[in-house]
């Protein structure tokens, strides 16, 4: 690994899942042909949107929590080196080991070596975006280590040899009958088989997963997890989940290895009071998720007696270096922005070619890899602004998209900008009306200036987002900008 002083260190090619094999418009066009996918997604995102809106509305100080959440993350980012050193000191003081990984390859090597040192060839895993991002399961498989996903949706995806399509509900592109068929066909090969006569009732399917994984949990010696939060002040890590598979992995094995992006930090213990309110309500639309586990290093006689924390860069410092893009590192992966995005609702997660789909994926993936490697993603948006409105840490995704589009167009690798633009327009059945609506949105900016929000956008925008309040759109819409700088679209 060479040090190119002054060159941003992007996530390397050839490992992990941040780049697709197709551009977004190509992949999107394929996805648009899949009716099942579109109807599953439409129903799912509508359901979560409604739930989220209800539980957010009952919190009287939501706007204050959101402002504080954004500021806490910005405070971490503005002081990241010192905060990481604090975390390292605390974790070490409490009996844990801290490892640093510049990129996916290095993280995979560290984890593989740690598992090898235990002599085990099986590990259980809690759903983790970071380990998907770096392609850890593939790296472990190459080393002869089987990594078992234990989140129900991840299990479905793994058994089907498929890819996740949503941050929160990764198997949302599958219906119950498909899931039953996957279980009947594949579970036996991976361990305890599905009960004969399994129906497609979700309750029965969940029971089959429980039985299948129980044996694995009870005998697991090594677990691998991600982390939702790490508190620099105390060295405490937190995992937020629903099913109890997280608790199983974090409690029963002897060795726990946690892989975490360096941006997951919170400065102080107190900051959890903000994020434990923002995350569950934004994510699953619940007042609180069923289980949250917190641990600090090793507790004698309780849980894993060996704990390793792997701190991952993989393009995060490159993202941090861009003052107009770094706010993407505030993201707490709640997936609220996916659920309100008219583009995501039509294309699904796979079209983005990265483990990070939807609006956040459109700004995060190109920054982690360098825009040159993901030039069409910043165009995977209608700039309607619904993502910004629901984001619990107030990431201004639309403005960031415009910034990254300029970078994509300027980058030499950007051959596909025309195709990209055409692709996104074709997602919208009435591009002309869409353009008109965007311009009216701009008009709304003038009208709505005093309050800073627009209550309702004209049709067809009204149909594309059911968010309660929209942030003001940028003064110049992307289409206007495009026409002004490139001639006709």
């Amino acid at each position: 690994m060479t040090t190119d002083l002054g060159m941003p260190a992007f996530a390397p090619r050839g490992v992990g899942h941040l780049r697709g094999d197709q551009s977004f418009p190509e992949a999107a066009r394929e996805a648009l042909g899949n009716k099942q996918l579109r109807s599953n997604l439409g129903r799912a995102t509508a359901t979560i949107r409604t739930k989220r809106a209800a539980v957010v509305a009952e919190v009287p100080d939501w706007a204050d929590l959101r402002t504080a959440g954004a500021a806490i993350k910005d405070a971490v980012l503005a002081d990241l080196g010192a905060q990481l050193l604090r975390l390292e000191k605390q974790v070490t003081a409490h009996g844990g080991h801290v490892h640093w990984a510049r990129d996916a390859n290095e993280a995979n090597r560290i984890v593989t070596d740690l598992v090898r040192a235990t002599g085990q060839t099986d590990v259980v895993k809690v759903k983790s975006m970071a380990t998907q991002e770096i392609g850890l399961n593939e790296a472990l498989a190459e080393a002869g280590i089987a990594a078992w996903e234990t989140d129900l949706a991840e299990l479905i995806v793994q058994l089907a040899d498929d890819r996740p399509s949503h941050i929160l509900v990764p198997a949302i592109h599958r219906n119950r009958t498909e899931i039953r068929d996957i279980f009947l066909r594949e579970m036996g090969r991976a361990g305890v088989p599905a009960p004969a006569g399994l129906t497609d009732e979700p309750r029965e399917l969940a029971e089959a997963a429980r039985l299948h994984l129980r044996a694995k949990f009870l005998s697991a010696q090594v677990a691998i997890s991600g982390a939702n939060f790490a508190v620099a002040e105390t060295g405490t890590l937190a995992v937020v989940e629903s099913e109890g598979n997280g608790r199983m992995c974090l409690t029963l094995p002897k060795t726990l290895i946690t892989v975490m992006g360096i941006e997951k930090l919170l400065p102080t213990w107190r900051d959890l009071e903000v994020f434990l309110q923002l995350l569950p309500r934004s994510s699953t639309g619940e007042r609180m998720n069923p289980y949250t586990s917190m641990w600090t290093g090793v507790t004698p006689g309780d849980g894993p007696q060996e704990f390793h924390l792997v701190l991952l860069d993989n393009g995060r410092t490159a993202t941090l270096a861009d003052p107009d893009g770094r706010a993407a590192l505030r993201c707490i992966r709640c997936s609220a922005c996916l659920n309100v995005c008219p583009v995501y609702e039509r294309t699904g997660g796979h079209a983005y070619g990265s483990v990070y789909p939807g609006p956040i994926g459109a700004v995060l993936s190109p920054q982690l890899t360098g825009v040159k490697d993901n030039p069409s993603l910043p165009f995977a948006s209608s700039l309607c602004g619904a993502c910004y409105d629901v984001c619990p840490v107030a990431i201004d995704i639309p403005t960031m998209l415009v910034h990254l589009r300029a970078e994509a167009v300027a980058s030499k690798g950007m051959k596909a900008e025309r195709a990209a633009m055409g692709g996104v327009s074709s997602l919208m059945r009435h591009p002309r009306l869409y353009g008109a609506a965007l311009r009216m949105g701009r008009l709304g900016r003038i009208l709505g200036r005093r309050r800073g929000v627009i209550r309702r956008l004209p049709w067809p925008m009204s149909a594309w987002t059911r968010a309660r309040d929209l942030p003001l759109p940028p003064t110049e819409t992307f289409r206007d900008w495009w026409v002004r700088t490139h001639g006709s679209p």
Binding site: A68, G244, M288, A318
Partner: protein, 208 residues
């Protein structure tokens, strides 16, 4: 490994060299302690728990033992683990009480019908019960592996808000925040209660 650490810290330094420190505006509702243990807070707690499909019994201190007996009989729990420090006067005769001493294996825990615990604190607004592995709660595996979990919550352990709870908890202890029985919505977003954690959560709210 040290080279990676040095390199990442150098990259960070280069990336944020001109960043100004950030003020955090804490205008949201912070910890206040207001309402702790009040009837309103207990009502809210009960409402939230029921919403999560937990079974809730509101009882007077003198009734705890009898209500536990009835709940366990109802659920068919005959052998349950009882962590050190769980008040013995609450244990009815009938079921076999298993101690975690010496420490039970995961397989032994899996063989039991249930677990009884107290808790460290509870949050009414979110219907959350927090265990910190202290007296009456045991190590984390005890409240995880058995399929039935009965928790006794005293009214004055119930605070109104998440900030109230965070302010009181000790981060150096292993913490488990429990809000209803384990659940999944992974299949067509249909909620199913009970996956890997205890599928039945029974809560006694002790008032008076």
């Amino acid at each position: 490994m040290n080279a990676a650490r040095t390199e990442i810290l150098r990259r960070i330094d280069a990336a944020i060299s001109r960043s100004a420190p950030v003020e955090i505006p804490r205008t949201y509702r912070g910890p206040s302690g207001e309402g702790r243990g009040s009837a309103a807070v207990v009502d809210l707690m009960q409402d939230r728990l029921v919403d999560y499909k937990a079974v809730v019994h509101r009882v007077e201190p003198a009734q705890v033992r009898a209500v536990i007996a009835a709940a366990l009989a109802d659920a068919g729990v005959e052998r349950a683990v009882v962590p050190a420090g769980f008040p013995t006067e609450w244990l009815p005769s009938g079921p076999a009480w298993v101690q975690d001493d010496p420490a039970l294996t995961a397989a032994e825990l899996d063989d039991l019908d249930g677990v009884l615990t107290t808790c460290r604190i509870a949050v009414a607004e979110t219907g959350t019960i927090v265990l910190d592995a202290g007296q009456g709660q045991g190590r984390r595996a005890l409240s995880l592996v058995p399929d039935y979990h009965l928790v006794v919550v005293l009214a004055d352990q119930i605070v109104a808000s998440v900030p109230d709870a965070v302010a009181e908890l000790d981060p150096t202890r292993p913490l488990t925040w429990i809000s209803g029985p384990s659940a999944t919505s992974d299949i067509e977003l249909q909620r199913v209660e009970g996956v890997h954690g205890p599928r039945r959560l029974v809560v006694l709210l002790v008032t008076g």
